[in-house]
Symmetry: C2
Subunit: 419 residues, 2 copies
Amino acid sequence: MNPSLSTNVQEHLSARPQPSATSIAAAGLSRMIEPGDVIGKALVEVSGMVDAYAFITHSTQPISGSLLQSMSELLEAWGHRKGIKLLREATERWRTRTNHEAVLQSLRYMEQLGGGLLTPDEPLWPQQLSDLEFNAPFCLWWRGSKPPLLWPSAERMVSLVGSRDATSYGNSVAVELGSGLAQADVTVVSGGAYGIDAMAHRGALTAEDPEAATFPTIAVMAGGLDRYYPAGNTDLMDEIRTCGVLISETPPGTAPTRWRFLQRNRLIAALTAATVVIEARWRSGALSTAHHALLLGRGLGAVPGPVTSASSQGCLKLLKDGAELIRDAQDIRLLMNDSDGYAPQETDQSFMKSEPRAHDQLSVNDLMLMDALPIRGWSTVDHLSEVAGLNIGGVLSGLARLQIQGLAVTREGSWQKAK
Amino acid sequence: MNPSLSTNVQEHLSARPQPSATSIAAAGLSRMIEPGDVIGKALVEVSGMVDAYAFITHSTQPISGSLLQSMSELLEAWGHRKGIKLLREATERWRTRTNHEAVLQSLRYMEQLGGGLLTPDEPLWPQQLSDLEFNAPFCLWWRGSKPPLLWPSAERMVSLVGSRDATSYGNSVAVELGSGLAQADVTVVSGGAYGIDAMAHRGALTAEDPEAATFPTIAVMAGGLDRYYPAGNTDLMDEIRTCGVLISETPPGTAPTRWRFLQRNRLIAALTAATVVIEARWRSGALSTAHHALLLGRGLGAVPGPVTSASSQGCLKLLKDGAELIRDAQDIRLLMNDSDGYAPQETDQSFMKSEPRAHDQLSVNDLMLMDALPIRGWSTVDHLSEVAGLNIGGVLSGLARLQIQGLAVTREGSWQKAK
């Protein structure tokens, strides 16, 4: 770790105030309410976080008729018709997880781990998450060595997602794109899985710069940030924590379940200006992130692959359905409307640079004359006239032009192509 | 060669009449006028083929003012403003190639080779070529063992084109697509080059069936049909000649020049309902065929490949520019509007078939419960309630559903995931 950076962090930590009532309520609610629980979101919207937490933790207090009424109306406005019975059941469900001491402990623990909790009332809260409307999270747990002041703006973030069981092709494209974006000061957002997620982070971390204005990469996790899942990515997660940040909706100690993985995907899509699927099978969790990006009106791109590769069928399907085809980091920046005046041109494709060919500039007649010129033997003007189908004047003037361009040579009145 | 087929061909040949004045004129004009020469096309349109040929071969006859006037007006209507001087020069140019004996000989020679000349006034003429307007050919030389009665309709033909220096990926996709189309009675049209052209033909020939209603494949050549270019494809060309047909605008003895290759591409695009580029570098002749297909309003598809492969950059560019993404022969048939009620579905993709998963049918609550069930140890209903965040009633009813579906098992009041 950079020594001056860790000093900064120490100052930041020691200057940190005791958790506010809002933070405690948010921590408690994130323990009791599953990510994406719209009924819980309705309660928070109607009561505010502090009152919502107080209501749930007063386990004997029945839910009032007026609260039920307000929640019902809000849920209906969101298109979620829920009977009163479901709302009562939801309260019982949340109450099974009540544990105020554990909530306070989770806040202290997160601070010890070099992290904290961010709530929507704080200036650093990523405002773009409100596009999720009734699916927006009400807090984010974070863990990182840099103070969260370095959080980038939405239009400087892109999600790179894909399969865990990626091919070497997918992995190498992920590294390439992650690195290309970070070099252009675009923050990469992904999950914490093996394969594409890991390689996208690794690519972004190659552009690591302690003086950088923002994080090179952000990992959005499905479970608590106290332990890493999968454990095999521990070194990578430590590196992301040092140079970037880890975030999660769920408090420390939470297991990453299938449900939480699916809900996590909506955060990845909502945080960023665009989502790019690098490699995905016909059925892949990455496609759920793509779906969220579409619903949110974010950019959606996909990297093509061989039609013979099962590992690319999800991406090819997205492309058939209208996702933008992504070849390199520049294509992604165009998708994000972050072009810096960049317009794709033949010569910008470094791996396929080709010199303009002399022949490209020839007129039709001169091209026919070039075709008629022998490579080895020598040809007379009369013969060239017949082979090229040009009159004598056309042959003579054409030969003069080709000679000036170094494409034709003459000897004793006969002609051939220049070597 | 199929014996009954060669008998048919013998009958066809012996029944063939002497060449008509139109055939002789067309043969002569195809010798003198380069493919795609709009001035030549204007002369043919204004005078008719027989008179146009007679005018050019009367080498001393000057071009009349009224003929010049008519040609000028026609060229102007086509958007080609050409000065009178250019028209006079064109006449001189054509006349350099006059040789009536060679013209008659080329017709006899082609007949000996098992072929002939087709002109637009014949019922078998492929009418779709008239979409080329002032670039339409005025004759087609052909060579094949089946009588040209088997010429398919335009909407049953598709062009498969691509690079000569194809990768093993491109080659294998070309074989796959060629074979898939021929099996669906769609005729493949391509050039005669190594790489994608050859592999597309080879794929189509695997579906060879002497009783088939149409040719499996058609090769459109840039030079005369008396010799094959490249010579390394001689065996393939012989096989196409036996089962399909070879065609060219140019008479026997004509060398395949760069110009003629470029012009040949417009025929490939115009003959078919759609053009599919299978593998092409950033600069590839196949892209000129794609361009013609677009100009003609034909379907245009491209097969994606790895973004890291230089051999796929031309295809990826076409896809960026809106070409339809092609994964298999079914995608091509959809592009041709030849779907036979086919609609792509997950399960139609044989190489990525996946069984529906039991989990897919679960409600959100049951999914959370599944996530909470241990794989090894056993969990009580109370514990499941806390871990899953569900009330006791929800856990009990959920466990009952999971048990019925064989997803959960119970022992002494505790539960785990079914193995």
